[in-house]
């Protein structure tokens, strides 16, 4: 199911120059803001939770997920170089699964790790806030990577759709329309974080069971469907 050569090619494409800069910029921004906030306001659990929930989990993780998830396959399909993977005796689901693993790993490294560091800077992991948000970031990394990998497989405008989902749906509708929150990766991962942190600093609109089922369901379904789409991928000619 996992092909090391596909993984190597995907890593190198994802972490090549420009994309690595974008991937690195957001985490650095988060850590810089955390240092400033800690310096100005001192250690405060509520502030830490607001910053990690509002900036890290609601904005940074989905954006990193969009870049890593769509970037793991979208550019190859766009420029046609995916033909070198497709013209091999490789099962299409193996290509998708391998790319998913890479996208998850990259999203986790560039979003969960900085969340943990930022959490420790903000309040030294008081009330388990840093760990709770890190786990939420890890969990949502999986679902985002799977969703955006599928998007990268089916659409040429994956990055735009991905950002619209991440910023408009998750951030805007999520806060305005209660129903939208049930269908939000962010809320599902908050349910997990809520369980870890206890207390009432972290809350989710979704129960833990529902959240777990939806997280697993979305990840599996998106990955399966991306494999099917790749099997039927048509490479348009130059004509």
């Amino acid at each position: 199911m996992y092909d090391p050569t596909v993984a190597r090619l995907t890593y190198r494409a994802l972490l090549g120059r420009r994309r690595a800069l974008i991937l690195g910029a957001l985490p650095l921004l988060l850590i810089a803001i955390s240092v400033v906030v800690r310096g100005l306001a001192g250690a405060d659990d509520q502030t830490a939770s607001d910053l990690l929930g509002g900036l890290a989990l609601a904005t940074m993780v989905p954006i990193i997920g969009v870049i890593a998830g769509t970037g793991a396959i979208g550019p190859e399909i766009d420029d046609g170089s995916v033909v070198y993977l497709l013209s091999k005796p490789l099962k299409r689901p193996t290509i998708i699964f391998t790319k998913l693993i890479v996208a998850i790993a990259v999203t986790m490294v560039f979003s969960a790790l900085p969340t943990l560091i930022a959490g420790f800077i903000l309040n030294g992991n008081g009330q388990q806030i840093a760990v709770a948000y890190t786990i939420a970031a890890l969990v949502s990394s999986i679902a985002y990577a799977a969703l955006f990998l599928l998007l990268g497989t089916v659409s040429r405008h994956a990055v735009v759709f991905g950002l619209v989902y991440a910023l408009v749906w998750e951030a805007l509708f999520g806060s305005l329309v209660p129903g939208a929150r049930t269908l939000s990766v962010q809320q599902w991962s908050l349910a997990v974080a809520d369980k870890v942190a206890g207390g009432d600093l972290i809350t989710s609109d979704v129960g833990l069971t529902t959240a777990t089922v939806l997280l697993v369901g979305v990840t599996v379904l998106a990955t399966w469907y991306a494999g099917q789409k790749l099997r039927a991928l048509t490479l348009a000619g130059e004509e």
Partner: protein
């Protein structure tokens, strides 16, 4: 022996028919797929390579379906027309990756790089390669698993004459070894120099198939049209029409020229200057009016 068979294959995109009911068999040796730009050659090659489903009909390789059959790629090597190819890798890394994806190692990659004579630049990044070097590395990646069928989409596009000759030698060698090699081109001369057998596609339809010389003769023997201006058009017309190589002459008053239809190309081209000289007529313009590849092809379709 590897035989690629297309059986009543059509492909349409929305309302546009790109490939219209084509049946052909491609066997060992070098076959040229000839047709003007937009004739459906790439669509055909994509279907032959399993990257596009036929709307109707079937594409099979030695009886096995090509579409949705990953195992078929053990036997097929593909050289796509598009340039993109993991430019951030070196040539060697790229070919090694292709070998690994076939379950092979660095040794197979090295052999393929040697075959295309790219060892000297194998450690340079692909993004620094010229068009011809890219083409050769693409070839190496297609040859790495020693395929019995090689599909190449417009492989000579943008190559300089020396690179073109090298690639032709290589493909000829592949054909001599008994591989089935199919390449597409819109340039008659390329196909003439390389292919043993040609398939002509025009506007999505299979226009001709067979031995190149036969088709070439058909192309040369077709009626040629010329636009001729001279110091005495009518006298020239009268002298030319007496010869059987000319089948029709129209005096185009608006253009101030003769429109001549010649049926015997060789004879007409030597007749015209001789007749002009004998009658003391000066030729001012002699231009073929239907030499474009498209008109050659449309003649073939009608034939």
């Amino acid at each position: 022996m590897t035989t690629l068979s297309l059986d009543h294959v059509s492909r349409w995109f929305g309302n546009v028919v790109a490939v219209n009911d084509i049946t052909m068999t491609v066997g060992p040796g070098v076959t040229g797929l000839l047709g003007p730009n937009g004739a459906g050659k790439s669509t055909l090659i994509n279907m032959m390579g399993g990257f596009l489903a036929p709307s109707t009909g079937t594409v099979t390789l030695d009886g096995q379906q090509v579409w949705r059959n990953e195992d078929i790629y053990r036997h097929i090597g593909i050289v796509p027309e598009r340039e993109a190819m993991y430019d951030f890798l070196t040539g060697r890394e790229f070919v090694v990756a292709n070998a690994e994806l076939h379950g092979l190692g660095a040794k197979a990659a090295q052999k393929a790089l040697a075959t295309v004579e790219m060892e000297y630049a194998q450690d340079r990044k692909i993004e620094t390669y010229s068009k011809g070097m890219r083409q050769r590395v693409k070839m190496a990646s297609a040859l790495v698993h020693d395929p019995s069928l090689l599909l190449l989409d417009e492989p000579f596009n943008g190559m300089d004459p020396r690179q073109r000759m090298q690639l032709m030698d290589l493909l000829r060698r592949m054909g001599d070894e008994g591989r089935t090699v199919l390449f597409s081109s819109h340039i008659l001369e390329e196909v003439e120099q390389l292919a043993w057998h040609i398939e002509v596609v025009v506007a999505g339809r299979h226009a001709a198939s067979g031995d190149f010389r036969k088709i070439r003769r058909l192309m040369t023997d077709r009626p040629h049209r010329y636009l001729v201006r001279s110091s005495d058009d009518r006298a020239l017309a009268a002298a030319l029409i007496a010869d059987p190589s000319t089948s029709g002459i129209e005096v185009d008053l608006a253009e101030g020229a003769l429109r001549i239809q010649a049926v015997d190309f060789g004879r007409f081209t030597s007749l015209l200057p001789r007749v002009a000289r004998d009658h003391g007529i000066r030729l001012l313009t002699v231009s073929p009016s239907d030499e474009s590849l498209e008109s050659v092809f449309s003649y073939l379709v009608a034939a």
